[in-house]
């Protein structure tokens, strides 16, 4: 077995670990990070995974880190903020705000009340907290870790079977997950060093933590998903368990039928022409999407699952429920 030493621990190269692991069921993990480029449907997939796990009887929480309250909006719920709020049976949601996470972290670290109060009032503390590169990301990941603990650090914390993270868009995504390791190497001593190491171990623990990449069947998103998988495996060292290709059109028409319809476009007018055009457009899209699907399957190591395009006006919780049925 090849390996390299990092401090006192023996690390296997991340890529090696990834290849040697069998693929466990995604929802049997404790933490699932849903990631991908902006606008590919990460929130919908995260919520669909949450609904699925909840239906299987798992106490599940979906965490948002962008403060956009997309999850609560999907459930037609008021903003949840930094609170664990129940959306449905077995399914909770929280929006992780870095300032609140920082506050909670300091509260857990400092037992003396007067000192905490002074600290929060201190302008310089707030300035330093804002200025330290990566600290916001670190405390956010810290909160995710805390939520996934069976022995919760916050008072009367609920125990969850599964934590699902609706991660920031690619670009921010990989850097975000790498923060603990970066921090562990900068802060060589002190509590944050060991805590950052704990977080890094947590993220790269293939048995308990997994990622799902969400992609769209278009050229750019497919390229980016292939690159993202490589970065997640080789640079972050996290397990990539699934790639969900979202928004796949059904193959409604065969080639001979398309030819027939092309003739109709030439000879007809009005609704018949418009309908034939729409059918041809769908045929062309479905075809080019299959090309992208095949490229994706060839380009990634993780199993690719497709999710259908939903011809529905809004992607609400019912849409996510439909997708939840198609996840396995």
């Amino acid at each position: 077995m090849r390996g390299y030493s990092y401090g006192s621990r023996l690390f296997l190269p991340a890529s090696e670990i990834a290849r040697n692991q069998p693929i466990p069921n995604l929802l049997d993990k404790r933490l699932v990070i849903v990631t991908g480029k902006g606008g590919v449907g990460k929130t919908t997939v995260a919520v669909a995974l949450g609904l699925r796990a909840a239906a299987e009887g798992k106490r599940t929480i979906v965490c948002e880190v962008s403060s956009q309250e997309n999850t609560s909006r999907m459930f037609d719920h008021t903003s949840v903020g930094f609170h664990e709020v129940e959306m449905e049976e077995n399914l909770w949601s929280i929006s992780i705000d870095p300032d609140e996470s920082m506050r909670e972290y300091v509260l857990l670290q400092l037992k003396v009340r007067a000192m905490r109060d002074m600290l929060f009032r201190s302008r310089i503390f707030n300035y330093l907290a804002a200025a330290t590169p990566g600290l916001k990301e670190l405390v956010t990941i810290g909160k995710i870790w805390e939520l996934a603990q069976l022995d919760r650090k916050v008072k009367q914390g609920r125990k969850y079977d599964l934590v699902i993270v609706d991660a920031p868009a690619t670009g921010h995504g990989v850097g975000f997950l790498q923060t603990p390791r970066t921090f562990a190497s900068i802060a060589r001593v002190g509590p944050i060093h060991s805590q950052a190491q704990t977080l890094d171990r947590f993220i790269t623990d293939h048995e308990n933590t997994g990622t799902a990449i969400v992609a769209l069947p278009e050229e750019m998103p497919v390229n980016e998903s292939m690159m993202l998988e490589k970065e997640l495996r080789d640079e972050v060292g996290v397990a990539v368990d699934r790639v969900y290709l979202n928004g796949l059109y059904p193959e409604r028409f065969k080639k001979e039928e398309a030819e027939k319809l092309s003739q109709l476009v030439e000879t007809e007018n009005g609704a018949a022409k418009a309908a034939a055009r729409a059918a041809l457009s769908e045929y062309g899209r479905a075809k080019s999407q299959r090309t992208q699907l095949n490229r994706l399957k060839r380009g990634v190591e993780a199993p690719v699952k497709t999710l259908p395009f939903l011809f529905e006006p809004e992607l609400d919780v019912e849409a996510a429920r439909t997708l939840a049925g198609r996840l396995s």
Partner: protein, 383 residues
């Protein structure tokens, strides 16, 4: 309803803003091409173009310098361009380094900043530096005055606020006002701020486990000679953004979420007193309203024409699905137009193929630069 050409009349800067995944890069490139086609010398500043698009523009090695798209390529793809199209890819780190080199009073101060660990983190990783540098590059190119029009494709931000606030936040950080007061080793500041500060610093050091303050002190020392230059420059950049010659276009998709974000972004632009020009909505399903009467007996009519009842049923069902999406898009766009109190909402249809070459861009331009009547006609033709 106006066209992009009318909105950008007499403008020298066009900033395309919006959330990720709505086709900002493609729209920026299409706008730049369309304006170049009309005879202007245009440069598009892009963040991360699709490889095939960059390739098709002959820009495999797109870098932090503007490069001209070879006019022969336009001819080859059947696109008529009277002006010039230039493109560059923004490299935030390289731009920041250049800026430091320009602002530093001497080589020694320059190297001190470039080698500082805090600087390296900020220039490559700190949220906002990419946005700030995009503005910076824009300002630089505008000052040089080589182009009639600059089109900026903005970086994907988590939300619109980041994009507008980032430059301010970054400048404030570099100024480091609140911190510099505390950093004088002796003197009045230490006394005034007293015990609280030293305790706060102690606790902070204990929590993060390294002497951040030493790095920060070094950073601000290195920057000390440049702060005024940075402030002055930031002011001029802000002035340029608010200039009537600048035009912000909001780019979005027709689904509910992107529309909400476009509304939010527009509000932020208005609050910041920045010049808003219009909205481009991409991937719109055009409705075929005038055909609604015929839709009722469509399956029967189609079965008759196709001689295949099963196929006719599927064609009709598919059409109904598209119409439902078209109605949703129309509803969302009406909502958008009324929220923004603008008539300048330009709809680009959901094209049959992804756009990744000049011909595709020029197809988009048919919609971006069409008059209202032309657009309606094209839409009806496509349905």
């Amino acid at each position: 309803m106006a066209s992009v050409g009318e909105v950008l009349e007499g403008k020298s800067i066009c900033i395309c803003a919006g959330s990720g995944g709505v086709g900002k890069t493609t729209t920026s490139a299409a706008i730049a091409l369309g304006m170049a086609a009309q005879g202007l010398k245009v440069c598009v500043l892009t963040i991360d173009p699709a490889k095939r698009l960059a390739d098709s523009l002959g820009l495999e090695e797109l870098g932090n310098e503007a490069r001209q798209v070879d006019p022969a390529l336009f001819e080859a793809q059947g696109v008529e361009v009277k002006g010039e199209l230039w493109a560059m890819m923004l490299d935030a780190k390289a731009t920041f380094d250049e800026l430091i080199a320009r602002q530093a009073p001497d080589e020694e101060s320059r190297d001190r900043v470039l080698n500082n660990r805090i600087y390296q983190q900020i220039s490559s990783a700190l949220a906002g530096s990419q946005e700030y540098m995009a503005m910076e590059k824009l300002f630089e190119l505008h000052t040089e005055g080589d182009f009639d029009l600059l089109v900026l494709d903005t970086p994907p931000t988590r939300n619109a606020l980041d994009f507008l606030d980032a430059p301010k936040r970054l400048t404030q950080f570099i100024e480091g006002k609140s911190l510099r007061v505390f950093m004088k080793p002796t003197g009045l500041a230490a006394k005034v701020t007293g015990r609280g500060v030293s305790v706060a610093l102690g606790v902070f050091k204990k929590i993060v486990g390294f002497d951040l303050l030493a790095d920060l002190a070094e950073f601000f020392n290195a920057f000390s000679g440049m702060v005024d230059g940075f402030q002055a420059r930031a002011k001029r950049v802000n002035k340029l953004l608010a200039d009537p010659e600048t035009c912000f276009l909001v780019v979005c998709g027709p689904q509910g979420e992107p529309i909400d974000e476009a509304v939010y972004f527009h509000r932020k632009l208005v609050e910041a007193k920045l010049p808003f020009g219009g909205v481009v909505v991409n991937k719109v399903h055009y409705p075929a309203d005038e055909l609604r009467a015929e839709v009722e007996d469509l399956p029967a009519a189609l079965a008759d024409k196709l001689g295949d009842a099963n196929l006719a049923k599927r064609v009709a069902a598919n059409f109904a699905d598209y119409q439902a999406l078209a109605e949703r898009d129309a509803r969302n766009i009406d909502h958008l137009a009324s929220e923004l109190r603008t008539s300048c909402v330009i709809r680009v249809p959901y094209l049959d193929e992804d756009v990744h070459d000049l011909a595709g861009l020029s197809q988009i331009d048919r919609y971006l630069f069409a008059t209202a009547e032309e657009r309606v006609e094209m839409a009806a033709g496509r349905a």
